[in-house]
């Protein structure tokens, strides 16, 4: 076999070896370089592998020529193969970096949520409400300006803390007149 082709194949094999090591052992980018860009590990490995295997392919296709000319033509062919590979790797990584996922619940999401009182809310004290937010049932401590008995439908108007909400009643006839409610 042509020693030039063997050399190009060895270069391509090195690129493959780097990729396999990165997959099996984990990220080996600790030695520096850009983690997300033209000098990231996938981009470099794609470039090296593309040059190697592309050059080898060119040497196989070319008629026997002078050694230097052959190497030059092979490098050019390798670059033709390697550059799109590297660009593809960079683009794929960039697209996944900003991929859309399930947003995490924040306190702002609770505003306007509707629920029901499960444990009576006394005046000035905490009760318990069950809220339906983003398809899940959540239980929060609740405060209210007026006492609310259990079963009262409520509407969240404020989130004083991560675990408590300020609610108002959405019952048609308003909150019951009894000042202490059932939680007195």
């Amino acid at each position: 076999m042509d020693p030039i082709a063997v050399a190009f194949l060895a270069v391509g094999g090195f690129g493959l070896l780097v990729l396999v090591l990165a997959l099996v052992v984990g990220e080996i980018g600790e030695f520096g370089g850009d983690a997300d860009g033209p000098f990231s590990l996938p981009a470099i490995a794609a470039f090296v592998g593309g040059v190697g295997f592309g050059g080898a392919a060119v040497t196989a296709l070319l008629p026997p020529l002078a050694g230097a000319l052959t190497v030059l033509l092979a490098v050019v062919g390798g670059l033709v193969v390697a550059l799109p590979l590297a660009a593809g790797a960079i683009r794929l990584s960039a697209s996944l970096r900003d991929m859309p996922t399930e947003p995490t619940l924040t306190s702002d999401r609770l505003l306007g949520a509707q629920g029901v009182v499960v444990s009576g809310v006394p005046a000035g004290g905490f009760g318990e409400v069950r809220l339906s937010v983003a398809g899940q049932q959540l239980k929060y401590h609740a405060r209210s300006a007026v006492p609310l008995p259990a079963g009262t439908p409520v509407y969240v108007v404020d989130t004083p803390s991560d675990t408590s909400v300020e609610v108002v009643s959405t019952a048609p006839d308003g909150p019951p007149a009894s000042p202490g409610g059932t939680a007195s």
């Binding site: 076999m1 194949l9 493959l16 990220e27 370089g33 490995a45 675990t163 408590s164």
Partner: protein, 512 residues
Amino acid sequence: MTLLYAIGGIAVLVVLLVLLVLSRIKVAGPNQAFLVTGRQGRSVTGTDGAVSRDMSGQKVVMGASVFVLPVVQKLHSIDLSSRRIPVGIRGAVSLQGVKCDLEGVAIVKVGGNEGAIRAAAQRFLAQQEGIDTFTSEVLAGALRSIVGRLTIEEIIRDRAAFASAVAEEAESSLTGQGLVLDTFQLQDIQAEGTYLADLGRPEAARVLKEASIAEARARQAAQQEQLLADEAIAVSQRQLQLKQAEIDAEIDAAKARAAAAGPLAQAAQDQEVLTAQEKVAERTAALTQAQLDTKVRRPADAERYRVEQEAEGRKNSAILSAEAQRQATIAAAQAAAEQARLSGEGERARRSALAEAEAIEGAKRGEAEKQRRQAIADAVEREGTAEAAAILARGKAEAEAMDARSEAFASYGEAAILDLLVKVLPDVVAAASAPLSAVDKMTVISADGAGSLGRSVAANVAQGLQLSGDLTGLDVGALLKRLGSGAADSVGDATPVTRVPLDGNGAAPARD
């Protein structure tokens, strides 16, 4: 070949590139929250004009996937699972001042929203096991505070008040740490002394009373129902047993009938057999009788008839022969009797005559000779007459054979006696005269002369005869007298021929 290697290498290179890039996507579990740090937050300009960066570079991901760049980003995971935290306090003082010990359990987890996760991650990311101890201590203090604000009765009974107090404490102590108190439950309350026990005693007593009453009533009702049920069962059993008895009776009757049917049929059959056998026996008897008639009786009758006839014949012949024999015997006997009588008569007469002749031999020898000669003459003279009389008597006796037979026999007896007597008479006379013959010399002194000697001999004979008559019952004297009269006749006739009585009654007086 090289071309193949190259193309293959390029293909493998593409696959490995895709795999490597995709391997940088991390997926959080349902109970996990990821915090990805390392990127720069957005620049925010505050209301006072100061520029700062928010926390957007510190990405929080719950239950979703995130692309983590190597080297420049770092992924952290925090567990959202619930944690069971036991809480126990001793000697807490309630609102009324009653000391009590409480044990409870709290369920605590890291909050489910971004702020809570950030807060919890700041505090517990490297020491998530420490959440339990931190929370336990915080909740112990909170519980003590809660007990101090409530009475024991409220703690036990007023769930809403307790929950409210718990929520208030939790808001102040746990929320700041990003923790959520899902629930808090008391497991045990021990009050000082018998406070709790005394709380329940009235109710316990009331419940006990009601329970006792209810038990008694239930027992009463149960007993009544039991008795009613027993009564119903007894009635039903009685009916059942009655039915069973009826059925048994029917069964027994049917069995008895069935059992009797066989013997009855057998008896009827036996009866028929016996009847048939009886008929056979009758026929057999009739047959046997007929056979006996033909085989035995008729020959027997014939034999009997024959024997009878023979016997009759023999009897007649025997009768006839016996008659003939009898008549011959009678005739022979009569003849013999007559012969004997006649010989006796003759002998008697001869002896008598001889004796008389000898008695008077001495005195009347001469006369006797004369008379003998005279008698011979008379005898010759009357010989024809005697023979005629004998012939006559014989014919007469033959004519009267039948009637004279017994008398002939009787006469034979007397004649014999007379014969014997006559034979001994000479001896008697000799004996009577013996004393006289012994006299050598005899002198007779008697007025009557020597004739008294003869009288003495006669007196001796007479006395002897009298003696024998007394002894034997025979009147010898009468016999001799009759003999004497006969001798006198014969002496008178001077012949020894014996006279034979013609009628045969000549001896009858001797028997008298």
